[in-house]
């Protein structure tokens, strides 16, 4: 395995609170040394002057559609998109066809991930069989097979007794229970946020209460069971308040937010543009403000794309019939920068923490830091490079990006996984042999 020497970069490693100009030597798949003016011999020398060198990013919420919907994305195409976005570890959601609700399915996803040889692929198992919200899935066996958490993502577990049982059972393995909070009895066939805009468009709305009631219920169940609980893609001001209270009470509750809930509002769907149809829906400016404030307060543990690829032809349907989802793995980093750094809510150290060590901690995986001896998962970022997002150039199989044509700042130049270069920006020519 080749030795790689990355020199002159600004090394930011949130896990170790390290932020300083330094050289990094990668050898044997590990971070061998970090220091100034390293003069080690290397097979490859990367001049990272003016760039950020940080732990490879972690996204704990992606949909790679395999098995079942390989025309939208495969684990291979999704993995290629991931490393292009700087991600060295991603967590696939179990709402595939069939769903990932038993150990062989978990192993299948892992195997396809290894074959793709791009990013580390993790998977969450379904909390209930067939994601039907009725019977517990084989949580223990999937846990042993390496599932990093359990969720019925795509929908929440509606039945309170089932959820309580699942949490109690999962607590035996000290594994993570994650939830897409949404009370279906309130949401019904909703396709966007419920409010003035849904009234004007004549579309069934999704009441913010639907998200908040389930989250509040779950927090009470955490109080009772002590299970580690993760609220997926929170989207409302009320949800932020519930998280704030849960954390104040010292409960083992974490949460994630997406780029779209940080940047976009329900106004975007006023032209029935299905590229903005997403679940949970885009909410109001006040909700966006509350979520940004939550980031500033440190209440948000992880940034997650909820990368949800869909075919063009599906997104060309009527707004009611089009599927939910936005594909954003490859442009997530500059979007986060725009929402969080350009607004002064946090700095690179704070933002990268939500993309590295903090999600690693939620997942209980030994990733997300680059001290000596750590696995050499590394991203090199040009924090100031301006570029135009071009969905046509995505490695992802899908193009459903509402960000197409946006001019953004911050570009992933190289991604190394276990010491191997798995992505190298074609426009970056400063690599030296």
């Amino acid at each position: 395995m080749e030795k790689i020497l990355i020199t002159g970069g600004r090394v930011i490693d949130p896990a170790n609170q390290f932020d300083s100009q330094a050289d990094v030597l990668l050898a044997a798949g590990q971070v061998a040394r970090i220091g100034t003016h390293l003069s080690a011999s290397a097979d490859r020398h990367i001049d990272a002057t003016g760039k950020i060198v940080c732990p490879g990013l972690i996204d704990l919420h992606v949909h790679f559609r395999e098995p079942g919907d390989e025309e939208e994305e495969t684990i291979a195409s999704g993995s290629a998109a991931a490393v292009a976005g700087g991600f060295t570890s991603v967590v696939c959601m179990p709402n595939t066809t069939p769903p990932i609700d038993e150990a062989t399915a978990v192993e299948y996803v892992h195997r396809m991930g290894r074959q793709a040889r791009k990013t580390f692929i993790y998977v969450m198992g379904a909390l209930t069989k067939d994601r039907a919200g009725q019977e517990l899935s084989e949580i223990g066996l999937m846990h042993q097979a390496g599932a990093v958490g359990f969720t019925d993502d795509g929908s929440g577990v509606q039945n309170t007794a089932v959820m309580l049982r699942a949490m109690k059972y999962a607590s035996m393995f000290n594994t993570l229970v994650a939830q897409h909070c949404q009370d279906n009895t309130l949401i019904k066939d909703g396709v966007m946020n419920s409010g003035y805009h849904s009234t004007v468009l004549g579309l069934p709305g999704m009441d913010p209460l639907g998200e908040e009631l389930m989250l509040w219920r779950d927090v009470q169940l955490v109080r009772k069971t002590g299970v580690r609980y993760h609220a997926q893609h929170i989207s409302t001001a009320g949800a932020v308040e519930i998280i704030r209270q849960a954390k104040r009470d010292g409960l083992p509750v974490s949460c994630e937010v997406t780029p779209h809930h940080l940047l976009l509002t329900e106004d975007c769907v006023m032209d029935y543009d299905t590229y903005f149809k997403v679940n949970p829906p885009l909410r109001t400016a006040a909700d966006v403000q509350a979520i940004r404030e939550a980031v500033r307060e440190g209440l948000v543990d992880a940034l997650a794309t909820d990368h949800a690829p869909h075919l063009q032809s599906e997104k060309e349907l009527e707004f009611l019939a089009a599927p939910f989802g936005i594909a954003s793995l490859e442009c997530a980093l500059p979007l986060y920068r725009k929402a969080l750094i350009d607004t002064g809510l946090t700095d690179w150290m704070g933002m990268l923490a939500m993309l590295t060590c903090r999600p690693a901690k939620i997942l209980g995986i030994d990733k997300g830091r680059i001290g000596p001896g750590d696995r050499a998962d590394v991203a090199i970022i040009d924090p100031n490079a301006e570029w135009v997002i071009d969905a046509e150039a995505f490695y992802s199989k899908s193009r459903n990006s509402p960000y197409h044509g946006w001019t953004v700042k911050g570009k992933v130049l190289a991604t190394m996984v276990a010491g191997e270069i798995r992505y190298f920006c074609p426009e970056w020519s400063s690599i030296k042999q």
Partner: protein
Amino acid sequence: MKKTAFQWMRKHLIGLRDLSREELEFILDTADGFAEISTRSIKKAPTLRGKVVVNMFFEDSTRTRNSFTLAAGRLSADVIEFTKKSSAVNKGETLVDTARNLEAMGVDIIVIRHSAGGAPTLLSRSINACVVNAGDGYHEHPTQALLDVYTIRQVRGRLDGLKIGIVGDIAHSRVARSNIYAMTKLGAEVTLIGPPTLMPPHVRDLPVRVSNSLDNVIEELDVINMLRIQFERMGGNPFPSVREYSHFFALTAERMKRAKPDITVMHPGPLNRGVEIESEVADGPNSVILRQVANGLAIRMAVLFLVNQAAMQTESSKS
């Protein structure tokens, strides 16, 4: 001929929300001209000769479809009827593909009725033909509202200062939405009347008043528009029983006694007699329900004429 500075520019009519008062009045004035044709012994004008209009109806409709067919026929257009039941989950050919196929056959105007709000918007983005919305989900039903305000103008002279009540299932009504935009832009004051369970979210952000009691407001109304209770569109049971609904919100002969003597009674049809309106009222002297239907024809002729004219102007300005 009177020279007017105003020129109609829209090749699609999707909704009334974006229309100005001037545009609305222009449509109504244009309809006045077409109303005259219906009084002739030969009820035909050559205005759309050589043009093809397709009625794409993905939802049941008798009144609106027949009205559009007749309107296009009177303007000498060729009319294709296309009906297909749509479902929430789309199977088979997509809406856009269907429309592109029709367009390939040389269709000039697509009149679309669809159960999904936004379907006409989607079409207008995807094809070159003119798109006229004949009702989409509970988004808008512009020609219905135009014929409503046309009828009111005919009966009352103008809308300015009129107090208009719209009663019933506002939440699931495209007619109510288009009505609100047209009536308020033309100067009327609109009150929505019904139980809170039939009001849409954030209804108070619309330029309306809201009342949960028909009895409290009926005395002040100049016009009352009774919406049909659409059992097929309401989820759950937004009111306990038809009996209870009628008790509080039906326009009965008894309630009419407390209304202004010259109140104008409207209904977009089809009627649920005995549910939202009693037969005695629907067929009574204050009712303009059949006049609404008759006026629908003139309005639809005007709309087809105007969108086609706008399309031809864009064509000629290109060449």
